[in-house]
Subunit: 269 residues, 2 copies
Amino acid sequence: MKVLLVFAHPEPRSLNGALRDVAIKELTAQGHEVLVSDLYASGWKSEVDRADFPSLAPDARFTPVRASGEAFAADALTDDVQAEIEKLLWADVLILQFPLWWYTMPAILKGWVDRVYAYGFAYGVGEHSDSHWGDRFGEGTLAGKRAMLLVTTGGWEEHYAARGVNGPIDDLLFPINHGILYYPGYDVLPPFVAYRVDRLDEAGFEATAERLRERMRTLATTPPIAYRRQNGGDYLIPSLQLRPGLDDPGVTGFALHLKGAAAAAPAQD
Amino acid sequence: MKVLLVFAHPEPRSLNGALRDVAIKELTAQGHEVLVSDLYASGWKSEVDRADFPSLAPDARFTPVRASGEAFAADALTDDVQAEIEKLLWADVLILQFPLWWYTMPAILKGWVDRVYAYGFAYGVGEHSDSHWGDRFGEGTLAGKRAMLLVTTGGWEEHYAARGVNGPIDDLLFPINHGILYYPGYDVLPPFVAYRVDRLDEAGFEATAERLRERMRTLATTPPIAYRRQNGGDYLIPSLQLRPGLDDPGVTGFALHLKGAAAAAPAQD
């Protein structure tokens, strides 16, 4: 398979850098082709602004959605954005690797999403009708491909558990897994998360590395998160509310959007 | 009161720009002092990188947490970051205003958080003991102050409701409200959210503006979201798990971290 790894840590000699190298080595050993977008090393520009749309008239009001759609349609996106779009189209698997900063991705990676996810490419795709509300949440340009997160955090696993003070890790990552990866069509694999990384000794690193190698060996076979397809019949259109009766009465929040949510809901541990 | 509004939209002639002006005008009319950090207009740098820490030796491994802590302790943060910290200390109320892009804040605002929230200022504060796990989640440098989000989105309110396909808006904003604002001590007010803003006509704008004015008039009196204090007895230390028996059995996910979560949980509408 072809794998694109988007890397968002400023220090190559970091744990993230080491884990990236572990992943690439294992993927290569398995015969996969790997491309890396190293956002810091390439000097990625994080901000969506007028400079992204050189064809916009200097006195025109800048509306990001409209400018993005017009530039995508006219093949007038900037070269850095266009290159990332081509990598996404090339890759069978997308891996986003980042340290969890303030419970989500670093700004530079958010800026990769904000800029690369053009209107007409990652959203604003497909028709709207009584039974179909755009190609999104399970359909879209990137359907048929797989994606997963590779995340490190200084916090303890318990702090991110079902009853942990940070909130459950699956819920913290839902806006990314569901809202950014599932949205344009990816099958989203469960995330790889390394906890308490500030205190990792050699044995801890090797255990983490081996766990990561196993995930890299099973990229093609790991079952994706069972999100419900927006246009698959589970949602009313156009309100996009989950139909009554599909879920267990005890399930609320993000877990509603999983098929068999009752089984998948976090245990009260 | 003193109010700091951090503004993260690239176009002053946008709906966001208009709502910002509405907010400022009403706050000023109420006798409040207002400062605006206009991130795009000021050319805010979004990426945490080595340039943020000029005293770091060129060949030293860059560890963001350590570099941040050392620079904060040595009063060696960059001028742009230091200026924002001083504004945060000055302000009684912080408002973060942004369009919801991919279910969270734009990269430039995430970069404001990543860079301004220095170690020793916004995290890494307070002692760790058997009954206290740092000054955070309800305690910290910014305790006693209030904060709120001012958010616009093109999506419909129904799509962000308890059973909407995007996930409930309160859950989508939890990593910001709880993880970014409550963490360093803010009392977090319920967010102001304007939906379906791409289709707003003049009457729609005026209704939204009036709703916003009312929120600006009640900044001092609106009850904050009833998050549980980390060190207030509700969590076991050091696992930071919510103690058994405090919550209703039907409540899961982020809603567990609200006092009286059963009452506050989203209705099955």
